[in-house]
């Protein structure tokens, strides 16, 4: 890679780093003020899905891994669980990059919804199912569904924001080519 690309890569990494931390902090501290029906939008999922969709599976995977890792360190008992889940999500969404179109804003919403569902489902599996609590329909109605709806709603704005950042970076990086 030439110097310029390296520069931009580092810049992107820095931006991702900041995004992960900021999103996590917002997600956790603004719960009091923005929660509806006990649900809070899962900003990190939006980040992972959006980045994977815009940039591909490598970005998706690494972002997913580190987002999940952050959550793991601060919350989980066993480190690596969320890292794995998010990583998988990023990886799978990354394949959607092939059908990435700059102007499309609805596809990311769909992916976000699916990804969040997957995330929630796996969360449920690990935290509840394996402890014998089998009432999935209850969890679905009361917890999973509100969060999916709220997350998708939030992703309309968040994706737009991330898209703008990415677009700005792309424009500057490939200006001469």
């Amino acid at each position: 890679m030439n110097k310029r690309s390296k520069y931009f890569l580092l810049l992107r990494i820095l931006i991702y780093f900041v995004e992960v931390i900021v999103f996590y902090v917002l997600q956790s501290s603004l719960y009091r003020f923005f929660n509806l029906a006990g649900a809070m939008p899962n900003l990190l999922i939006i980040l992972v899905v959006s980045s994977a969709y815009m940039r591909g599976w490598i970005t998706g995977m690494t972002l997913g891994f580190f987002s999940g890792l952050l959550v793991d360190i601060l919350f989980g008992n066993i480190i690596g669980v969320y890292a794995m889940i998010m990583m998988l999500i990023g990886y799978l969404t990354g394949f959607a990059n092939r059908i990435y179109s700059k102007d499309d804003f609805t596809l990311p919403l769909v992916f976000t919804a699916v990804a969040d569902f997957l995330y929630q489902f796996l969360y449920y599996v690990f935290e509840f199912l394996l402890r014998g609590k089998l009432d999935f329909s209850y969890y679905f109605r009361k917890i999973i569904l509100p969060e999916i709806i709220y997350t998708v709603a939030a992703s309309i704005l968040v994706y737009k924001l991330l898209h703008m950042i990415n677009h700005a970076l792309d424009r500057n990086e490939f200006k001469e080519e």
Partner: protein, 296 residues
Amino acid sequence: MRRREKIRLRPKHGLIIGLVVCLVLILISFRFNKYLYPVRNAVGSAITPMQKGINIIGTYISDGLATLKSIEELAEENKRLKEQVDILSYENKLLLQNKYELDELRELYKLDQKYIDYPKVAARIIDKDTNNWYNVFTIDKGTRDGLSAGMNVIAGDGLVGIITECYYNHSKVRAIIDDKSAVWGMFLKTSDTCVVQGDLKLMEEGKLRVEFISKDAEVEEGYEIVTAHTSPNFLEGILIGYVTGIELDPSTMTKKGYLIPAVDFERLSEVLIITELKEPLLTEPPEEVSENEQEK
């Protein structure tokens, strides 16, 4: 697309690497949980200030919004409280009136002691004229209570007026400040006589006219004037007021002045009626014809 050679990382391989890393981490954290404490500590301590900052900002904003919301509630409450204040204010006025009445009754009681030799009946003013100063008013006692026309009415510190009409359960009183009222008065200190007349113009200033003071009378500012024994209608010795502004009237060669009544006519509400009538002196015609009507 870049034209350089680069090692192609197949997605499948990437995934496998990633999964392996994760599993390793899981195993490590499973086994060596307590060694992870410093890691958690470090990361947590770095993140926490940011969370606190967001929290403070969020609280600040939400407090602001809550303030806006509660402004509406406060306006409602304010309206309610204002209404309550109005009601309480009204009740307070009633209480104050009661207090005035109490004070006046106390004063009358003192007065009662002063004019102890005259029998008296207490009454309340129930109807006043349109202006503040009571020149003709109605009291709530009448023939039923042993009153009759011509009886003197006093209050607080002095003379108020005289009953002009007496009905079954109420009576009409003309105050001395009325234009038509004339009282024969006497300076307490010197026994010089005079006439105290009500005057419509002076009523606003709270004064009465004093006339026909003997030009040789040695009277000064502030002397008390009481009802004279020569008065046909009024029992003698009742304080009327204090003289002021004495000057010589060139046309009648007598002194005249003004009188400030002892009674505060503006705030009158309780009076005493002396039920003893002045025995008419046969040598002088009465000052006014009083009517005595019986009403059922």
